[in-house]
Symmetry: C5
Amino acid sequence: MIKTVCLDRQSQVFKDDCVAADISELRELESNVIWADVSDPTSRDFEALAEEFGFHHLSIEDCQNEHQRPKVEEYAGYYFIVLYETELADAGDRLELRELNIFLGKNYLVTVHSRPIRAIETAKRLWHEWTDRSDLGSGLVAYLLIDAIVDDYLPLLDVLSDHMDDLEDSIFGEWRSGVIEDIFMVKKKLLYLRRAVTPLRDVFNTLLRREQPIFPRDTHLYFQDVYDHLIRVADTIDTLRDMLSSTMDAYLSVSGNRMNKIMKRLTSISTILMSVTLIAGIYGMNFVFMPELRWRYGYVGALASMVAVGAALYVFLKKVDWL
Amino acid sequence: MIKTVCLDRQSQVFKDDCVAADISELRELESNVIWADVSDPTSRDFEALAEEFGFHHLSIEDCQNEHQRPKVEEYAGYYFIVLYETELADAGDRLELRELNIFLGKNYLVTVHSRPIRAIETAKRLWHEWTDRSDLGSGLVAYLLIDAIVDDYLPLLDVLSDHMDDLEDSIFGEWRSGVIEDIFMVKKKLLYLRRAVTPLRDVFNTLLRREQPIFPRDTHLYFQDVYDHLIRVADTIDTLRDMLSSTMDAYLSVSGNRMNKIMKRLTSISTILMSVTLIAGIYGMNFVFMPELRWRYGYVGALASMVAVGAALYVFLKKVDWL
Amino acid sequence: MIKTVCLDRQSQVFKDDCVAADISELRELESNVIWADVSDPTSRDFEALAEEFGFHHLSIEDCQNEHQRPKVEEYAGYYFIVLYETELADAGDRLELRELNIFLGKNYLVTVHSRPIRAIETAKRLWHEWTDRSDLGSGLVAYLLIDAIVDDYLPLLDVLSDHMDDLEDSIFGEWRSGVIEDIFMVKKKLLYLRRAVTPLRDVFNTLLRREQPIFPRDTHLYFQDVYDHLIRVADTIDTLRDMLSSTMDAYLSVSGNRMNKIMKRLTSISTILMSVTLIAGIYGMNFVFMPELRWRYGYVGALASMVAVGAALYVFLKKVDWL
Amino acid sequence: MIKTVCLDRQSQVFKDDCVAADISELRELESNVIWADVSDPTSRDFEALAEEFGFHHLSIEDCQNEHQRPKVEEYAGYYFIVLYETELADAGDRLELRELNIFLGKNYLVTVHSRPIRAIETAKRLWHEWTDRSDLGSGLVAYLLIDAIVDDYLPLLDVLSDHMDDLEDSIFGEWRSGVIEDIFMVKKKLLYLRRAVTPLRDVFNTLLRREQPIFPRDTHLYFQDVYDHLIRVADTIDTLRDMLSSTMDAYLSVSGNRMNKIMKRLTSISTILMSVTLIAGIYGMNFVFMPELRWRYGYVGALASMVAVGAALYVFLKKVDWL
Amino acid sequence: MIKTVCLDRQSQVFKDDCVAADISELRELESNVIWADVSDPTSRDFEALAEEFGFHHLSIEDCQNEHQRPKVEEYAGYYFIVLYETELADAGDRLELRELNIFLGKNYLVTVHSRPIRAIETAKRLWHEWTDRSDLGSGLVAYLLIDAIVDDYLPLLDVLSDHMDDLEDSIFGEWRSGVIEDIFMVKKKLLYLRRAVTPLRDVFNTLLRREQPIFPRDTHLYFQDVYDHLIRVADTIDTLRDMLSSTMDAYLSVSGNRMNKIMKRLTSISTILMSVTLIAGIYGMNFVFMPELRWRYGYVGALASMVAVGAALYVFLKKVDWL
């Protein structure tokens, strides 16, 4: 379904469920920017877009095939942008990536997505607040949209960062199982997030270093701002990855130490038990001439020596820190 | 054997088992593109190619020696391209790489391969469907061919990715042996796949950044599309490699934990058994004056104390999580 | 609160708690540099700054949102700089990062921070001492300020380096627990420090390589000096990180060796005890015809053979270095 | 000893044991290329070369000091090239590197080496076969020589690759000791080989990207070919290194698993033995009132219960896969 | 103390303990190069240098603060170079770095150092031998000095390399303790050495790629030579680091294997002892009806069966390679 909005200085004309003719009509109106938002696109919608805006069939195809990588491609007269809105779904267990395709022309913006994108609402709201800068045209709308998406990455990273602090606490503090699986899951989320961010960062970098910028210098400041946020997100991801691998190392080391301490203790206890058992074994021998066996306090003495040997060994092993 | 096809706008002239003269004849016909497909090339075929198209002997030699690395080389008047079609053979156990050499000139395309290449059929089929863009000439044919090959990498990566999900499940879920070998095999496949993809990506990057493009700007959009797919494949390979090394780490860690838990338990059980045996040992001593031995319920008491000690130790060790 | 200082050659005019009008008034005075220092900025302060200096709303927003990454951005007529003063807080346990935002124009400098920044006092003091170079204007003030911050990184790295030497001593010398946690904490501090330093280094690099420098050539020498210190700090951080991971490896290895030695010893001792116990077990058998049992010195002989077997095993295990 | 060859189109003039005058004489003859091959050079030889060709004393010094790194340096009027011929010596145990220094001028080639270089014979032989391209002059001779050396790297890598396949088989298949040492040795060889290849590759890259090529465009195609082989060799080395580190990981993991399995089994067996021993211990107690002791089939029953307990434990431990 | 030398073609005028006036005087003499060598500089010396040569106060400050990173900075009319002479001190246990600051102008050279630098003597000696190239002026002196320092890195690397061969021998051959500490120490030395070399290499690279070289083309050849040595040193350091980490891996693996073998053996021996003890335990039971106990050769038979069981287990465990 195509919803079109005329983002004018004074008024905004909305039109739901458009066909190519509707868009043409709106474009003829005197207005700054046309924003056509296509949700759950059908092949009829794509035909309408290709017809009205003259999009290259390669960009239309990329739009139709989901799971593109984030990118900004330049076609004759417009940019084709793919990026991902992210959200933690299933109580933080899964990282949901929702693809958003943007066709960005001089005075229009076409957004195509098969799942609802929150950033679209945010961008629409901010457009109302920023009307004093509406002369920046479609570039500014694109900025608001992309910035809303990129800004969503940061709280998500905060959630992951908090999760990692918990993991760290459970390594150096109160021990619990399942830490490896948790580390692995965070790692996986960071990996997917990085895939959504770094290609975008690289492409923005290229865009901003162009000799002849397509958008006016002032719009570039806004794109620079998005780029800056992307770098910050990418840096944070890298830092978290570094931290995570340190956490993994620390986990392995602490876990190994704990295990070793236990084995050391158990083996030490075995040694004590074997020593004491040896004494019992000695007095279990059947020699005819064993004077101790006939002593009045032989038994008590044997028990006492067992306790003495056990205690001495215990103290010794404690002292050399083997127990 | 050389099969030649005239890829005309209207008609297609096929000719099997050509010699140099046949190709000359076809090239004299007014047509867009000549596509000479050489399978199982003989030295006579190579001579025919060199004679008719004037290929440099270095490119002919590269063609004759298998196991070149993927590359795009520029010679006077034509590009020489080497790339690999991949397929999982032997029920997914082996990664088969089939070399394809392409000589790409302004109005001709020569493909040389010693094993059948599926992408050639795909490209031929698509050519029929894309006749409205046939004015793009040999560049478009090359695009269709290379794109068909590159697009085959992605389902293959999906297979490997699914395999990795299985491995992950068998690490954190139901344990099974042979995981390391599986991880190693996937790693090896990714390594070979990367070798087939990354040089190609780098070369396409160089090609697309040329000051004076050889093919018209519009064809470049198509090559940009291939390049984009190559980046995506390379990115996915890198992500899978990252994931695989995390999986390996997780495997080692989980496997170590499992092992440690077992050893801890076995050693704990030994400790319990030794404690109980000690009691038996004590009452096995042969002291004359051991009052318990003469008690009516001495034996039962001893057994009871054994059970009590064993149970107490069991409860204790369970509590400190050593058992 | 905005404090403004006129950094004149002869005199310095101070004014606390300024509004936009106050700054305007000061700027009309004939002076080299105006330095407006804004601590604990309120939205009224930001409005005053935007009004008086005409700062772009994006830079004002970056100023308002804490936790930007260190950066240098160029706006029309001024640079916007974000950097971090660092200090070890909580007796060295925590790395405190205090954000400082600088607006650097041709003849003014605005510093914005929500927490007190020591470097500001240092820079003010040095300005008095460097009056002979005051013709370098706001660039020199910026240099003094940034240099004071960057120079503070080095003693901090020295503290971390000393800590690492201690860790190393405790690995190869006197053993103590908690080493992993310490290594982990140092690693974390280095990670945060690197995040505060490397983006700044990269940006300075770009600034210094500009074709048309904004500040005069002589000021550039000072920025080059800051850049040089930043490289040195970044290099030192990388070296410390390298060293730290070697230390971690060494710790794991030494710790593993120590553990193995203990287990080897305990198991060896068990083996000795079992051998001796076996002898006791043999003479505990109840065969009717066991001549030794009746011998006069059987018991003493058995004890002697136990000692002999134990000693022989001890010597042997010592010799093959298992004990 | 200096051997000089005039590589003419028609004839080849050989001259052994030349002095400077001999070379001058030969150079006056009308010929394409002079190739002076200096084996086991004496200081007299170096003087002759410096005198006749006017080589810079720095390049002469590099020639005299062995163990330079592979490089291509440009001097006034000639290139100075250092590269290494490699061979597996001592039945594959050692990687022998033989240094070859080349002075490459417009119409001459001087090769200096202290050990025999096989590639020189290959290049001479190929020159005869390639006489139709002899107009390419000294550049072609250099190509033939360098290509012969670079092509020798590939079979060597095949040998190492086969060795690695063997290692892999011995890890996942039939176990054998000494695998680590073998992995280490292969790693070392790859490291040395990489040192011989990568600097050369980088330098060729720089050479080929020069704005004003020294050799004619057609010769460049040949150097491009060498560069291509160098990349392939370097890529293969990197792939093998990657594979080797995977092999090492797999070895450690498989080896750890094998060890753990053995320890698990041994400890399980101990547990069974201890349980059975406990029963024996119980009936070894000396209580007066132990009814079983007097039973007719007490002994057999005890033995039976021992077998039963042992068997039950065996079955249980087998089932939980601890044995 | 400032020692000044006039490095003339014919004569050399020495002057010890100079003040600014002395240097001025010497500079007025007609000579090629003035070399002022300042050892243990006092603030008076720095004032004299600043006065006479007009050095920028930033370079003077860098000179006064020790522990700069190696660098080459360009100031108006002169280069300021910092580099480190290295030596193994304390019988190879410590890597000593001695800082040398060089001010290099068109016709003068000022060296500042607080500890004696061997390379200064070497450079002076070589200057006498190279008088035929003295027209290269201060650039050549700088070359001789820097080259002397850089050439000292290589024998040091040879010492480290030999040490690593020893470590390798002690890993795969005769075992000894302390290997980890040795590996760690070599790693640390390599790390410090790399810090002294790589920044210098990068700076020389930048210097040599300048569009307008400051020194004549012929001097550049010498700097190229130094750069070449720096690359070689840096490459060797990287190779040694690679090798060292392989050595560490090999150590850990071999050490783990040795340990495992011992534990396997000790546990196997325990198992044998327990089996034999079980037999003793069985015949230690007090059943009234145990026919064996009354047999004439029961005791001998029991001992024989113990030996038999022990021997059988020994043979079996040897065969499955657990012992």
